[in-house]
């Protein structure tokens, strides 16, 4: 489920560093953002304290291309934040790249934000009516306007006042003066971690961005928590204890890196569990379990173990096909898939295959994959998805197609199987998915069941 235009896409990853004694903050941010590259590949940026002022460097492109040059020389600093981003609908505009750096009556503020506000339209409309101007289409600019307009004298009070106005998803990091502020919304939609090593305090969307620096001592930022890090140390406060839990279950199913641990669960092990759960619901007769690499790999391991059907690498993936690769002269989806995923003929010829993927969006990629497998000699292809049927849009930072485009809104599983040419098709039931989670009450399942943890602005 990962070819062009047929995937769920994340909006962002964030990272931040504070070290009272000073260190090469841009380099720290570089390695953390590089580890979060899977969360956003269209723009990258850093902001940090330099010679008494905040500076920002950002551009369209991947971390390596955009930020390498800023690492050529040592730049000692005490505090910095960084961001990677996917574009939303409406194109990949530089104006939307983050961090955003502004100056206002509170002084200079830099912001890096992961998530979407669910009351963005209301807030923006209010701010515009009071005379605010917007230079981007990102929700994040709203937050800075609210901060600037707050009549609170202390930045900390203004920040708390602002947080009280925000609804939806916001795992975010700010710099004001020499202080680092770390915030997670009361529902905890997006993951966010804080870690410590020596005098370094590090914040990041996933643990993998801390572990690349050897930072093992880390904890999840709590939903509704506001953490302040400055020369006096790190202090935490719950600014809102009443959020409806809303951790994004798709972070576990698809987005996060398998070696990360988020929401107190190992991503890899959770995916294995979904595969095993799927196997337990299933009674298909098959010769081999074949994962769609890489999105179905971890779950397939669990399915194979639980079902006793041996795993086989029946599809290989060409990792040179990245998002940055635009295939010239072709809008043909089939060639796009063919360049990326390759059947291993000798391994699948004559075999009955259980094909494991994470989820189904439009179904177009799966249709081509089934075709490739059958052409390569597969006798049967049984598609198994480690998530329930996706039927509802996300308002909290995942770029899900419109309801009409979601295949599960227009076809039954049987119809889908016929459409994509599979011999059978099964989704993981929602209750089974919940069974794979330690704290099933703590999650948002809105894309499956339409029950949004917080009110949303429907169109």
């Amino acid at each position: 489920m990962n070819a062009q235009n047929d995937s769920l896409r994340h909006h962002c990853g964030v990272a931040g560093f504070f070290n009272q004694e000073g260190e090469n903050i841009p380099e720290r941010l570089f390695y953390s953002l590089f580890s979060l590259q899977h969360r956003g590949q269209e723009s990258a940026g850093i902001a940090y304290k330099k010679d008494g002022h905040l500076v920002v460097y950002k551009d369209l492109g991947m971390v390596s291309g955009v930020l390498s040059r800023y690492l050529a020389e040592q730049r000692v600093s005490t505090v910095g934040i960084g961001h990677v981003r996917y574009s939303t609908r409406g194109g990949n505009r530089l104006e939307n790249a983050q961090p955003i750096l502004v100056s206002c009556n509170k002084g200079e503020i830099a912001l890096a934000h992961n998530g979407n506000l669910s009351n963005a339209r209301e807030l923006r409309s209010l701010l515009e009516s009071e005379g605010s101007i917007f230079q981007s289409s990102s929700d994040s600019e709203i937050i800075l306007h609210l901060l600037a307009r707050s009549r609170q004298t202390l930045f900390y009070d203004a920040l708390k006042e602002t947080l009280g106005l925000l609804r939806g998803a916001f795992s975010m990091i700010l710099i004001h003066n020499a202080t680092l502020y770390t915030v997670r919304d009361p529902s905890g939609f997006r993951p966010l971690f804080i870690g410590f090593k020596g005098t370094t305090v590090a914040v990041a969307s996933e643990t993998c961005a801390l572990e690349v620096h050897g930072i093992q001592d880390s904890r999840e930022v709590q939903p509704g928590e506001l953490i302040t890090t400055d020369h006096e140390g790190t202090r935490a406060e719950l600014f809102n204890r009443e959020g409806t839990p809303g951790r994004c279950v798709f972070e576990l199913i698809y987005f996060a890196r398998p070696d990360s641990r988020i929401f107190n669960q190992s991503v890899h092990l959770t995916r294995k569990k979904t595969g095993a759960a799927l196997a337990r619901c299933d009674n298909v007769t098959a010769d081999i379990v074949v994962p769609v690499p890489d999105s179905g790999s971890n779950a397939a391991l669990g399915y194979a173990e639980a079902s006793g059907i041996p795993m086989e690498y029946g599809l290989t993936r060409n990792h040179y096909v990245g998002r940055s690769f635009i295939m010239p002269n072709t809008s043909e989806r089939e060639l796009a898939v063919r360049m990326k995923l390759h059947p291993v003929k000798e391994a699948i010829k004559g075999k009955r295959i259980v094909l494991i993927d994470d989820s189904l969006v439009r179904g177009t990629t799966s249709k081509i994959l089934v075709k490739l497998l059958k052409e390569a000699g597969a006798r049967e292809v049984h598609l198994r998805l480690c998530a329930p049927e996706i039927k509802w849009p996300c308002y909290f930072g995942i770029d899900i197609p419109t309801r009409k485009e979601l295949i599960s809104n227009t076809m039954t599983p049987e119809e889908i199987a016929r459409f994509i040419g599979a011999d059978s098709l099964m989704f993981l039931p929602l209750e089974e998915l919940k069974g794979c989670l330690d704290d099933p009450g703590g999650y948002c399942y809105a894309c499956f069941n339409g029950q949004y943890p917080v009110p949303v602005e429907t169109e």
Copy 2:
């Protein structure tokens, strides 16, 4: 007077097009901005109406590099504006590139602005106190905030209200909805022209940017004038009839292109007149008149004619040395000058030279030039400047060094002559400069005499 760090620098040039019937607006802007390249070489950008919305493309770099790619395909539009820019102190940041495009309660607004507000600090401070955020260090963002905050319902009224708050220099062009607004401040510091050809209405900082399109029917936008161009035609109004005249005399002396006609005067002929005026005040005995190319070329022609001393090209210029050329491994000014200006030994050997340049800032380049000429065999070098002594900073859009750095604030002409090694040195007296102007009462001479036409915020 044009080697690195020893020159006056302009901030901007602007251009705009409106054609009710639609045409390739980006291409129009490209050629006009290319013709204004001498007014700003560090960033370039265009904003235009596309599919019902305003879009903006801008980047650091020269017009050709930044904008060529947007011309590959036909883009029919009815209205667009463009901008070229030098960076001010504080570095060449993308955030400061123009046009600026914002959305606010008035809808989408795009702005391209040439000039500096002389009450920028006051306005910014006021706006910040009311909660505005600033993403750049340019004055132009202030104007957009004021527009957004105006309680006037009609954009036109909001614009007039805003113009009433601005002090200083603002030749600017805006797009709101499908309408093009052209504004020049009441003192008329910076030039601005409007021209007509068929259904095309064109606006630009200098006539050369109109003539490249064969637009001959043009007039100067009046100081204090606000011109509205939409599907009903073009209407002009004087929003302020009481401005103290303040045309920038340096536009004629140095900035504008010689083939432009600004402030109702031919730039080339005015420069010739200053050279002739200088010659009339002078009684030096010399063999040849040598211009410093290109800044002294036009004036030298006038000096030679008036004095009867023959002109000689004793210095040639390497036009491959542009602003984009960063000489590697050297901070040495002498090499910088040597790469750019070359004595023609055979032409100057044994000669007594009248060396003509436009003005003197720090004097460092002139010192090297005199040295090069003498090394090449010049018997005497008499430096003549076609402007009075520069002693005061500019608050209206010219990047003049601080008072201390201006050589005329620390030395008498005789001392300067000794410092730079010239056998004599003469500035054009202010009264003589005025004599070269048709309307001497209409100009700002503040950089010479400290008399600013409007109040300024001194540091």
Copy 3:
């Protein structure tokens, strides 16, 4: 076994197309070379017939970056060849990029060559003594000199004469006039395939580069075979029937893409077999089998199946770390490995691990991997290599470090285990490796046993 400086590296991949009726040959080559990107990532190039002449486009960089722009427009042609390349010792020079295009008394010739000549020094020395000049350090230029110097009147005869002088590895493709020539050396060191679809004849190093175009009807070019393709069709001849068989076993173990079928064997299945063979020789007690991704992935599957020990993804790989990624400010190998391979703590904590990789060169990467796994909680790490000990250099196109740098030349397996911190270590015995091959007599095992199929020029 794939972090920087601790890997075997391939030199090249080649592709060629002929279609009497004309088609977009550059686009064909683009997709084939993209599929061969794993065989060479430092330069890419194509040569094809255009308007009656051969043209060549090549540059340093990956296929996508170097060749995309040549696909913007339709370019119908009848014949073309392409090449991807790693640099050898001595740096990555553009001069060494291929195809090479020359003109000589035979007319224009374009050449793309995979492999190294084992009598290169002798031939080059001879040619230089007769007055030849060399503009690159590649062996391939030698072949073109020999062709030009041949006194044979017919190109075909000159080519056969030249082939008679070459020793070592040469899978190569040439264009002369409008004819495509495909050649494989008598030992068959490097793979080479020819396929047919409609009027298209395609040649490539691996089947995956044919299958991306849906070309299923293909066969291996035979060792010692010379195939001519022109408007009269395709004709094959064995120019040398007496070559000592020398297929490179490392193509199967490590280089080729898992979905390719080379030397009449499925790459993926062969790797599974080596894993299974290893398991059969092994009697270690362990909890999980962990592959080093991606080099050990296929074999691990075989090991797990044969041993009954469950496979677990204990290491994940960051695929954004490509060869093009130069880590700024660090020469530290550990950070390089840490950026690329990540332990999945929850999966390996307290576990006894069988770690599967393909082979061992210097051992430096394995040492870091074992450290990372133990830090992440692994109780025991037993390293298993699916190849015998590498002790000898390759003269046929694989970039193996010097004998001294090969860890197996300086330590016993027990010493290596201690050096890298593994609890035990085992290589696949050579006889077992042979058991995984359908035709064990057809291969070169020189890097393991020093028995070169053809004489070599030792230093």
Copy 4:
């Protein structure tokens, strides 16, 4: 005479440095090549001794873009050469960029060559028949083949033997071992200078490339001279005393930089003389003399002085229009000229103009210029060319269009005047041109009179 496609174009400029004590040779070459940029703007390159070997860096583009990066670090060397180049017919191919570096039986040789061999086809044909291969279409590769094939044991002898075989134009510089060889053909078609300062020996196409380093002590390399520079010093020998003199008079008329002194004449003063000579032949009644900048500037000064008609800058040039500027979306010549040359209306309105340019090729640019001037109000335009009618192609390094395209081969001066819309037109008679030269017998006038100093290979 300098808009696209309507100009004579040079092929090359060369530079070389030797310093037994070592210095930053790449930086030296950079500044010299930058000063020679007017001689070639399509590729640039340097070769120098580094760590005991010759290395070469070259690419398509201007000096600043191609070579800046090689100056970031100090690179001490004892010897190096450089080259700038225009492409000839057949496109701008990287393969043709120089210096060329080869290895052969004489060792490593690097070559930078300015000029065209007039027996290139014969030599190439001979070499090909003996088995040589050519990787470029440049004549220069021929020279290296001849060197390699020479049976002389000593390089110096091989070089002399090779020089004996060459006909036509070759100002060239070679490195072999640690020695710098400087050669000029017996006719002396192209200029070449050698200069000395301290332990530095410098060679360059024009004196301006020496003077940028402050090297004043220089002399012309003699026609037929071979100069050897090594650790024992600099030694000169005349390898051929019998060349028919053939200095290219167009170097003085158009190509060389005005501040250069070549062929023992000041370029600037010679151009003034041609203008003066033209004035003496002329009896036109006019108000002003207007140069076409920059090609007619120097001559116009001479014309104005001699005629007593005042010079006026009636045309200004936009120096941002360089060769690198490709105007998007237009093949329209008029827009190209309009972007580059601008009439100064106020200066020419109602005036009778003598328009001075250097020479006439196709006449297309002049036609547009006359139109622009008349549109701007000129009463009369009398075109004067400071060179005779160009009627013959050049075989020695100037890219002159074919005979049919040369307007002087199809029209009389009167017809040309009518064609371009001028009120009258005059060429400088050949005898008058000769009168401007100190040594008129020493020049090649073949493009005017068809009398080639050496036999040529006509097509």
